[in-house]
């Protein structure tokens, strides 16, 4: 397998692995927790290294996951005092834990392969050089770890789909039905920590956050079913990863940075062009509603004055803008649309309702 291929494969499995738990983070309004966890796991790695003096020890992984979960419980403890809101609590806890890690690295581990730039941005391009050989198996370490994380996350979501959905949608019902929301919550946070640790070695913590938040947020705009949101998140994350990789290759820029940017682009596209909820669709709907409503107003106005003495004046093309206080150009457009739609007929200056227009006016008057 070429290293180009391997880097892309690593990016793909890591992207998919991050997007899955990210869906639940976004739905639980805990997106910022991914930011906190993906940084504080570094402290666990550093402390694990001081204990074992071995960067390959599995204890580092355990320590990292533990600090991830610790971050969550510290944030919750602070929030529960009611002295601080959750967002501020996150902003307090994670820089403290992260900076302790940074200080420890700079003071005691300056000569070890643990540097802070790599933590933030990862070093995906070099990932294929760090390999694991095991019998006939010869894989980049990051690919193996990423794949294991992905399988774990998939398994969890397949097995506990209903529990995760219930505990996310309705905590109270989950608790009364005997599905401990606390257990589900900490289970999810453990998985987020594992994913963050597994991923950030390869892609860095910024990309972990981008992959956990942006694809689910984009998918949320594109569908209204949880299962499809999960699927779409994975697709968007994987596409962003691959496109980001090629973008980085073509322009000779940082891979993780390009991938993170692509997740942003994907979100922006969904934000603008999502079929039902995108800004464009919303704008089109609003504008259509505005014109339709104006036509209804027009028909109602004509109906109210139909057959009355002042009908000639009230229903005249020229006086319409005066009576309804409409801009002449707006009035002209409404009249044209109403005429095209068969709601009114124009007899010289005089505007008259058609049967269809009368029906619409009568319906409108009931609202």
């Amino acid at each position: 397998m070429s290293s180009t291929m391997e880097v892309q494969l690593i990016a793909i499995v890591v992207a998919a692995a991050c997007a899955l738990p990210g869906v639940f983070l976004v739905l639980r309004r805990m997106a910022m927790m991914s930011d906190a966890i993906s940084h504080t796991v570094l402290l666990g790695i550093v402390l694990g290294y001081f204990v074992t003096r071995d960067l390959a020890s599995p204890l580092l992984f355990v320590g990292a996951v533990a600090t991830g979960v610790l971050t969550v419980s510290l944030v919750e403890m602070l929030t529960r005092t009611n002295l601080i809101k959750e967002d501020a609590a996150i902003g307090l806890v994670f820089p403290v834990l992260f900076s302790i890690a940074v200080i420890l690295i700079s003071r005691y581990a300056g000569n070890v392969h643990l540097d802070t730039d790599a933590v933030l941005l990862g070093e995906l391009a070099f990932a294929p050089f760090d390999r694991i050989t095991w019998g006939w198996l010869d894989l980049p370490r990051a690919l193996l770890i990423g794949s294991i994380t992905l399988v774990l996350n998939l398994l969890l979501i397949v097995l506990l789909y209903k529990e995760l959905k219930l505990a996310t949608f309705d905590v109270g019902l989950a608790a009364t039905l005997g599905f401990s929301p606390v257990l589900v919550h900490y289970g999810l946070m453990t998985v987020v920590s594992i994913t963050a640790v597994g991923a950030f070695d390869a892609v860095g913590s910024i990309l972990v956050v981008a992959l956990m938040v942006a694809p689910p947020a984009a998918a949320y705009l594109l569908t209204d079913r949880l299962s499809r949101m999960l699927g779409l998140s994975v697709v968007i994350a994987v596409l962003s990863a691959v496109l980001g990789y090629w973008f980085a290759r073509w322009f000779n820029v940082a891979i993780a940075g390009s991938m993170a940017m692509m997740t942003g682009v994907a979100f922006l596209l969904a934000f603008l062009f999502a079929p039902a909820r995108g800004i464009v669709a919303l704008g089109v709907r609003r504008s259509r509603q505005r014109w339709e409503f104006a036509q209804q107003m027009l028909t109602l106005h004509l109906l109210n004055h139909e057959g009355t003495a002042e009908a000639d004046d009230e229903c005249s093309r020229n006086h319409l803008s005066h009576h309804l206080r409409w801009q002449p150009r707006f009035a002209a457009t409404v009249i044209r649309l109403a005429e095209q739609g068969g709601l009114i007929q124009c007899d010289g200056m005089r505007l008259m309702l058609t049967d269809q227009g009368r029906r619409l006016a009568q319906e409108a008057s009931l609202r």
């Binding site: 506990l160 959905k165 949608f169 309705d170 109270g172 019902l173 608790a175 009364t176 949880l226």
Partner: protein
């Protein structure tokens, strides 16, 4: 007959501030009971403590003589409509099926039987046409009926409903009350946090008046009196023409109630 629900000496406190103070409550089986009281009286807390969602400082709750942990299956819960995120990406049918999750247990996924169950419940609350709708498209009354359908599929013996009439239209209110009577006719017990004092005598046969302490509870005809309402709401309630008759009967009380300043 054994009461459906027996609460004894229940105290819930927030630090040193009691939210519920030594409350005793017995609810006979096959009745509709309203829990009424002013805002902050602890009505929702009473339900949450009974269901173990809030840890009480003292007291116990028994469902047909046994604690909640052992009787989970017998208890259905309809939380306040505003307690969930209605923009959640899911369908009406899916939400109703959640009521079956308890009997499925961990790991097992809902299947055809659960779908049928949920559809039948939606039929009962006249929401079958909405089964595949995204829940954010529902009106307040429709949301409430979906929650009721979800409680129905739980197939419980005792139901707790937190303000099911809150902000619903007249049609939904009728639908809900018909449903409650249906449940009672089938031997179920329903305990409802209720706000509209006017409708208490018409809708319910038992009432519990609380304001941190339990003021009174029992059959509406005996307990829903002006004196008890005054004790519950203090000066914040207006009665019309009570000079005529001091021994207000419940039906008169209904006519005399002008409203409660919440």
């Amino acid at each position: 007959m054994q009461p459906a629900l027996a609460i004894t000496d229940l105290t819930v406190a927030y630090h040193d501030k009691p939210v519920l103070w030594d409350v005793d409550l017995e609810v006979p089986a096959s009745t509709l009971m309203a829990i009424v009281g002013p805002n902050g009286a602890g009505k929702t807390t009473l339900i949450k403590a009974a269901l173990g969602l809030v840890r009480p400082a003292a007291g116990q709750t028994l469902f047909y003589g046994r604690p909640y942990r052992e009787q989970r299956r017998l208890v259905g819960y309809v939380p306040q409509r505003g307690s969930v995120d209605w923009d959640f990406p899911t369908s009406v049918l899916d939400v109703v099926m959640m009521g079956r999750y308890g009997s499925l247990g961990w790991f097992r996924r809902p299947g055809k039987a659960e779908r049928q169950h949920a559809l039948a419940a939606l039929e009962k609350v006249r929401m079958a046409d909405f089964a595949t709708r995204q829940i954010s498209q529902l009106s307040g009354g429709q949301q409430q009926r979906v929650f009721l359908a979800r409680a129905l599929v739980q197939d419980a013996q005792i139901y707790f409903m937190d303000e099911p009439f809150q902000g619903v239209d007249a049609v939904t209110e009728r639908a809900i009350i018909d449903l409650l009577r249906d449940l009672r006719a089938n031997g179920k017990t329903v305990i409802v946090v209720h706000h509209d004092l006017q409708t208490v005598p018409e809708y319910f046969d038992q009432v519990c008046l609380i304001n941190v302490r339990r003021i009174a509870s029992g059959p509406v005809a005996e307990v829903f009196t002006e004196a008890n309402l005054r004790a519950t709401y203090g000066g914040r309630i207006a009665f019309l023409g009570h000079a005529e008759d001091d021994e207000a009967t419940p039906s008169r009380t209904e006519g005399m109630l002008k409203g409660v300043a919440d």
